[in-house]
């Protein structure tokens, strides 16, 4: 018997005034799997991620996460998700530790401090854990966003452009976070422009275009020159 999808999106539409950012996306993601969302700018990747994070309500369609309807059980969905937004994602005048404290308090975590410190060290942010994030470089901000999304070991990990401007050590650490999450049975959705990194870290790839899903393939099929050609064909 196959397991039901943890993330189940049916005919998702998101409109901002006249603009339809997402035009009928269907998506399933399963426990212990990492799924990449690929596509050009404006394909609807980040908006879809925002919907899954409970930040933007869907205009139409159904979205369930671990059986919870995102419209009705938004708070419960936020409890089990971890979200790294595509832009910034940090409160500029708070320190990393204050960010972690806020997340831990709202999620009622206990005994989280050691894990948080360990993650900050892995992402080479241990030295700056008490410094306000306003002065962080772009890469430092991205790395901290990944830490914040994953520190509470969420059932669903949503990473939107986590590799953007991140150095190789940060990329490696993010790979480890994804691998750890998969190992403990979490569902990972990763939105990125970097096809190679998506192929390395995910098992499945969904290609979005113009707010719709145009393909769902094994990530391995997107690898190498052949994969690049196939990907380009899907984008055009």
């Amino acid at each position: 018997m196959t397991q039901p999808p943890v993330v189940d999106v049916r005919s998702l539409h998101v409109r901002f005034g006249e603009v339809e950012a997402v035009a009928g996306i269907d998506l399933e993601a399963y426990a212990g799997q990492a799924t990449a969302l690929l596509g050009r700018n404006g394909a609807g990747k980040s908006t879809t991620m925002r919907v899954l994070a409970g930040v933007v309500p869907p205009t139409a369609g159904t979205v369930t996460i671990a059986g919870l309807d995102i419209r009705k059980d938004t708070l419960a969905v936020k409890q089990i998700t971890g979200y790294c937004p595509d832009v910034g994602g940090l409160v500029p005048r708070a320190t990393p530790w204050e960010h972690l404290q806020l997340s831990a308090r709202l999620r009622r975590l206990t005994g989280w401090e050691d894990r948080a410190r360990d993650m900050l060290e892995r992402f080479e942010l241990g030295d700056v854990m008490n410094r306000v994030t306003g002065g962080f470089s772009h890469g430092m901000g991205r790395r901290l966003s990944v830490v914040l999304a994953s520190m509470h070991e969420p059932q669903v990990l949503l990473l939107d452009e986590p590799f953007d401007g991140v150095d190789p050590i940060g990329v490696e650490a993010t790979f480890e976070v994804i691998a750890d999450a998969r190992a403990r049975g979490a569902t990972i959705l990763l939105s990125t422009h970097l096809r190679d990194l998506a192929v390395q870290s995910c098992g499945t790839a969904l290609v979005l275009r113009g707010g719709s899903r145009v393909a769902a393939v094994d990530a391995a099929e997107m690898a190498g020159e052949e994969g690049a050609r196939a990907y380009r064909a899907l984008l055009d």
Binding site: G54, P57, P85, L148
Partner: protein, 520 residues
């Protein structure tokens, strides 16, 4: 044929433009940036209406008071105002200087982050700040008070000449304020400059206090240079008037040009205040017991770790308090102060309260907290920010006002509560209705574009002044309960409006729009 430089050739250094060419280019850039800002105005018809209203009000204020009964008369109220005019001119200069210094050199025509990819010179920045200086309700009201007072105290005869001098004085004061603000900013950016700036301000404050305490204020006011300017303003077409004109025009031009020098100096130095804030370490504190507690703590940190808010609230809290002391303001009139301070405080961040989270708004929105908890925390932090500032002002003003009677005390306490809730309610409503993506890192940053700020400040100033004047009147009525009776419906009304804003914030569609905008 040689096609490239040999190893022994020396590249000629690229020569920069001449000073005149650079200045011309800066003026052109100001026009370009101004058009760019104009394009971003959302409701252009409203902006045009506001601009027209400003011109009409200025024209009316400059002329109409001269024709009301009692205008220009001797041994009347008009004559008392006439005698105070030189002090009022000096007061405007002080206001221009202090507000430009507090905002780190004046407002930005384009924010630092937006400007960074473009070759925008400090001269352009300086000229832009000069143009934006009047887009400030404090500047406008003071200017109207000066023009109106001049018209009323002087009467219709030779009014044109007098008002021309007043207008030139406004320009001159603003330009001089800008020069001193840039100079102060250039000094603050030196090693030890922050301490030097604080020592200077403290010394000026102590000197002013000493003058007041030793009873030399009137002697000083009788000798201020604005007497000379004022004498020229009221001399008709006489030589003194022409001399005034020449001095003010020349002085303004010199100030505009000279201001570019400290602006360049400041631009080439690191903004130490901001840099310190961005690299500050804050030792971890114990976990608060409640959800509201941690939300409030984070919001509070966002407010008090921001340079424009710290500087702004200091000026707002202390400035009116000092005016109350030096002006020997009685308790009944002190009811004006909380509204003024609360309105000013809300303009530091409250009118766009969700911008405190910056790009972290998206992450925060994914946290499992009820939307109303976030709203309550933000509202509380705004309340305490405005409350602290208003209380400091009243405390300073109280130093010279003696012991209030029950009616005065009741009026003041009621004013404090009513205007603060009034301002918080309005600010939270506007924050939801018109969010802006603003980064409050720079000391010069404002929570909304200049035109929107004028609209907000005008509305806040009008509503709080009317409320304050009502309570000021009640302070003279020998029954302290009157203020309380008036305050209760006001508080209920503001509470209802705040509650409506809270319900609106609970709507996920509304919240998504605000979050997406502030984080963009």
């Amino acid at each position: 044929m040689p096609t490239e430089l040999s190893s022994t050739d020396v590249l000629a250094p690229a020569s920069g433009p001449t000073v005149v060419a650079a200045a011309r280019r800066a003026v052109e850039d100001v026009a370009i940036l101004f058009r760019f800002r104009k394009q971003a105005v959302r409701r252009r018809h409203l902006a045009r209406a506001l601009a027209l209203t400003f011109v009409v009000i200025t024209g009316l204020v400059a002329v109409v008071p001269a024709f009301v009964p009692g205008a220009g008369g001797e041994h009347t109220k008009a004559f008392d105002i006439f005698l105070l005019m030189p002090s009022a001119l000096a007061g405007f200069l002080v206001l221009s200087i202090s507000s430009a210094i507090a905002s780190g050199g004046g407002r930005e025509l384009i924010s630092r982050d937006q400007a960074s990819p473009y070759p925008i010179s400090p001269t352009t920045d300086h000229l832009g700040a000069l143009i934006l200086a009047p887009l400030n309700i404090a500047w406008m009201v003071q200017a109207w008070v000066l023009l109106g007072s001049m018209a009323f105290s002087f009467g219709p005869r030779n009014l044109f000449q007098a008002q021309v001098v007043i207008l030139l004085w406004l320009v001159f004061s603003t330009a001089v304020g800008q020069v001193l603000a840039w100079t102060m900013e250039a000094v603050r950016r030196l090693r030890g400059g922050i301490i030097a700036g604080r020592v200077l301000l403290l010394s000026l404050g102590l000197a002013a206090g000493a003058v007041q305490l030793t009873g030399h204020t009137l002697d000083l006011l009788d000798r201020i240079p604005t007497l000379w300017i004022f004498a020229g303003a009221v001399s008709g077409w006489g030589a003194r008037w022409w001399l005034d004109l020449a001095y003010l025009v020349a002085g303004s031009l010199v100030a505009v040009v000279v201001g570019a020098i400290p602006a360049h100096l400041a631009a080439h130095r690191l903004p130490r205040d901001e840099a310190r804030m961005e690299t500050d370490q804050h030792a971890p504190r114990s976990m608060p017991r409640s959800v509201l507690g941690i939300l409030v703590r984070l919001d509070r940190a966002s407010v008090w770790r921001s340079v424009p808010m710290r500087r702004g609230v200091l000026v707002l809290a202390v400035g009116p308090g000092l005016v109350a002391i030096f002006g020997n303001l009685p308790w009944a009139s002190m009811t004006i102060l909380p509204g003024l301070v609360a309105s000013g405080g809300a303009l530091l961040f409250g009118v766009n309260a969700w911008c405190l989270d910056g790009r972290g708004a998206l992450w925060r929105e994914n946290l499992p907290a009820t939307p109303t908890a976030s709203f309550d925390a933000r509202t509380w932090v705004l309340l305490e920010f405005l409350g602290c500032a208003a209380l400091i002002t009243v405390a300073i003003g109280a130093l010279r006002a003696g012991v209030p009677n029950p009616e005065e005390l009741s009026a003041l306490v009621c004013t404090l509560l009513v205007v603060i809730l009034q301002v918080v309610g309005a600010a939270m409503r506007w924050s939801i209705k018109n969010p802006y993506p603003v980064d409050l890192r720079s000391a010069r940053a404002t929570p909304a574009p200049p035109a929107a700020m004028v609209g907000y400040s005008a509305r806040l100033a009008t509503s709080t002044t009317i409320t304050s004047l009502c309570f000021s009147g009640f302070a003279h009525v020998p029954d302290w309960r009157l203020s309380v009776m008036f305050a209760i419906p006001c508080l209920i009304w503001s509470g209802i409006r705040l509650s409506r804003a809270r319900n609106r914030w609970a709507d996920p569609v509304v919240r998504a729009r605000v979050v997406a905008t502030t984080a963009s």
